[in-house]
């Protein structure tokens, strides 16, 4: 028994070491830096300031506005991505003929990097939308990304387009594992499609909801590259997500300590939200 547990640790050691080096140590250092005033220059020694940075956070308008923006964004995207992803999964697990090619097509956006996606959609929003809008006289399609509202929805559309296919794959896996006899039994009982969906399918794919919600929730909070390339936080910093605000605070404003404080607060928020969400979703899952 003793050797066994020793073996266990030895096999675990490389991973643990890697985790320690790239996650735990920087994390602890980060917390330390958040208590200092520091420009990020290695030649300077950080000056210890206690909780000053945290106190200043509350009066930092860009932090609060980007936090609020990120919240709104996360709620909207989580809902839409999961609805779209689940619907796509239902479509490609039904008996339509082109389901294999459709799966590939729906998944494809996820293979493109976020930065490039941002630039592609920037072109679509500012040039193609504009051209269509002015050709057909549709006011709504003109001036995308130039106002806070269109910037927000632009980001949402991009992210949904990118992530829906990925989430679809997770739902497909669970949908396919639903035993046919259960669905047939429901048919025999005279259930229509919506009833089957609500009472048979949904409870059985609940674990997929847990996973997908977790992935999309934390993903929506941490989004950076799409934000950078699509809107760059503009106009007027109105579409600046929290991750971008942290990077700007650290590298444009040269206030690394402040940026670290923001990052720590951000971490706590995401951790609390994700854990709560997983806890509640877990309760909804059913065992077969």
């Amino acid at each position: 028994m003793k050797t066994k547990s020793l073996m266990y640790w030895i096999f675990l050691a490389p991973v643990l070491a890697a985790l320690l080096i790239v996650v735990v140590v920087p994390f602890v250092w980060g917390i330390y830096y958040s208590l200092t005033e520091w420009s990020g220059d290695m030649a300077q020694t950080p000056v210890f300031k206690g909780f000053d940075n945290y106190a200043n956070l509350l009066s930092d308008p860009t932090f609060l506005s980007s936090l609020w923006f990120t919240f709104k964004y996360a709620i909207v995207t989580v809902v839409i991505i999961n609805i779209v992803g689940f619907s796509l999964a239902l479509i490609v697990t039904s008996y339509i003929k082109s389901k294999n090619i459709l799966r590939t097509i729906f998944f494809m956006p996820n293979l493109i990097g976020g930065l490039i996606l941002g630039f592609i959609w920037q072109f679509i929003f500012t040039n193609i939308f504009n051209a269509i809008g002015s050709a057909m006289g549709v006011e709504m399609l003109q001036g995308w990304l130039a106002t806070p509202a269109t910037g927000f929805w632009g980001m949402v559309i991009l992210h949904v387009w990118q992530m829906a296919g990925y989430i679809m794959i997770i739902y497909i896996a669970y949908l396919q594992s639903i035993p046919d006899e259960l669905l047939e039994a429901a048919d025999m009982d005279g259930a229509n499609y919506m009833q089957k969906l609500k009472n048979v399918i949904a409870p059985l794919v609940a674990p997929a909801f847990t996973v997908s919600m977790f992935l999309t929730l934390s993903g929506s909070f941490k989004i950076y590259d799409q934000n950078l390339s699509l809107t760059g936080g503009g106009p007027g910093g109105s579409t600046k997500m929290i991750a971008m605000d942290i990077v700007d605070t650290a590298f444009a404003m040269n206030t690394m300590g402040m940026a670290q404080a923001k990052a720590v607060v951000f971490f706590i928020i995401v951790a609390i939200l994700s854990l709560t969400q997983v806890y509640y979703n877990k309760k909804k899952e059913v065992e077969l």
């Binding site: 050691a13 220059d41 001036g143």
Partner: protein
């Protein structure tokens, strides 16, 4: 049995660990060798690591280095180029943090000097410094000691299409006050259809640096006596010409191709100006190569006029970046670095390349400036010769002021979220807090 298994697994995990460590160790070592290991060879051979920001001339710069290495076989120069304002500053910082300090790098002005002053060596016995044009060293002179060598001169203003202005019967040389400019703008606007224009201007609302750095600098220069060091030392900013600045920005936005706030640099310069869809844009001579590539006839027909400020028409000319030498590098590397920079700007071969390959407006004396080929640079150089210039004070703004504060506030103003006065107040407040 269990012993062999034990041994095997131990070996395996150790190999993995060592593999990982070994790799990273190797990578770090070979790259950083240049910055701290060259003293070891001892027979006069030096390696200089250059970390520079101007993407536009990377190839030409590497050719120049190849030529220099040929003439000086005991010098090896490695260049790394990372472009664009923020990126350069941030990557330089991470490069330094990782222990791979370059021997020559770039700074923009006094704020950058402040950030890196522990590793910037004073430059002594340099011909380039001795021949630098008046005023070009101000931003890197601290207590009478020079710390940097200027890249080149650049100027910005309103680039106009001569042909279009001709057709509209406007003489650009007469546009010396804001009222003149407004009258001309309205005239152009009324003739849009005949001239085939989409709008008079293309105001790149998305590019905060255009107005955050350049426009604001033009209107703040008088307040800071045209001196970047005055701006850097100022505890407050007054925006004395706030009204005129507002008029100018309003005019640009009103007569611009819309939507203004998603218009970017490439649309402004390439899609609109180069295609003759707008008559004027606010940019600098750096935009010339892009225009030339797309529409040579438009490029040849371009002129540049200064943004009229306070009834005066002075060309804002400045040095975009300086070369500095790392004081942490070995003595001989530092000397070799200065020698290289001197050679680039003062030897005949170097001058030839600077002028004709880099297409720089030289910041130094003794150049045959008749060789400057593009019309924008030529005009800017003429303003410099006449002494009819104003300073680039934006290099002395507090960190983050130009784009994240002033730029953002103007964007918010343009999208009607705040008033102009609020935008000004927010900017002033940030300046005071961050000084």
């Amino acid at each position: 049995m269990s012993k062999t298994k034990w041994g095997c697994s131990l070996l395996l995990s150790l190999t993995l660990l060592l593999g990982a460590c070994g790799n990273s160790g190797d990578g770090g070592g070979s790259v950083s060798e240049g910055s701290d290991g060259e003293g070891g060879s001892g027979d006069g051979e030096v390696t200089i690591d250059v970390y520079q920001f101007k993407v536009e001339f990377r190839e030409q710069f590497e050719e120049l280095i190849a030529q220099y290495e040929e003439e000086n076989p005991d010098v090896t120069i490695n260049v790394e180029t990372v472009g664009g304002g923020n990126d350069y500053g941030a990557t330089l910082k991470s490069k330094i943090a990782s222990g791979e300090e370059p021997d020559i790098f770039n700074i923009g002005g006094p704020q950058d000097y402040e950030d890196h002053k522990d590793r910037i060596a004073p430059i002594e016995d340099s011909e380039a410094v001795d021949t630098a044009l008046d005023g070009t060293l101000d931003a890197v002179t601290i207590d009478d000691q020079v710390y940097g060598i200027p890249y080149n001169l650049e100027g910005y203003g309103l680039i106009y299409n001569k042909q279009i202005l001709d057709e509209a019967g406007i003489n650009p040389e007469e546009l010396t006050t804001m009222e003149d400019l407004q009258a001309a703008t309205e005239k152009l606007d009324s003739m849009k259809e005949e001239l085939g224009l989409d709008a008079v201007y293309a105001f790149p609302g998305k590019e905060r640096w255009v107005y955050g750095n350049h426009t604001s600098s033009s209107f703040l220069a008088p307040e800071f006596n045209n001196n970047v060091m005055d701006a850097f030392a100022a505890d407050t900013v007054e925006f004395e010409l706030s009204e005129e600045l507002k008029t100018y920005i309003d005019m640009q936005a009103e007569y611009s191709v819309t939507p203004v706030l998603s218009l970017d640099y490439s649309q402004q310069v390439e899609a609109l100006y180069s295609m003759g869809k707008v008559a004027m844009i606010q940019q600098g001579n750096w935009a010339y190569p892009s225009v030339e590539q797309i529409a040579p006839e438009v490029a040849e027909n371009s002129g540049i006029l200064p943004i009229p400020v306070d009834g005066e028409s002075k060309m804002p000319v400045g040095v975009p970046q300086y070369w500095v030498v790392n004081s942490g590098a070995d003595e001989e590397v530092q000397t070799a670095a200065v020698e290289f920079l001197d050679w680039m700007y003062t030897s005949d071969a170097g001058k030839e390349i600077v002028l004709n390959e880099f297409n720089f407006i030289p910041a130094f004396e003794n150049y045959d400036t008749s060789q400057i080929s593009d019309p924008l640079s030529k005009e800017i150089y003429e303003y410099t010769e006449e002494g009819n210039t104003s300073g680039w004070v934006f290099l002395g703004y507090p960190t983050g002021f130009s784009e994240d504060v002033f730029g953002n506030n103007v964007q918010q103003y343009l999208s009607d979220e705040i008033t102009w006065d609020e935008a000004m107040e927010n900017s002033k407040e940030y300046w005071e807090e961050n000084r």
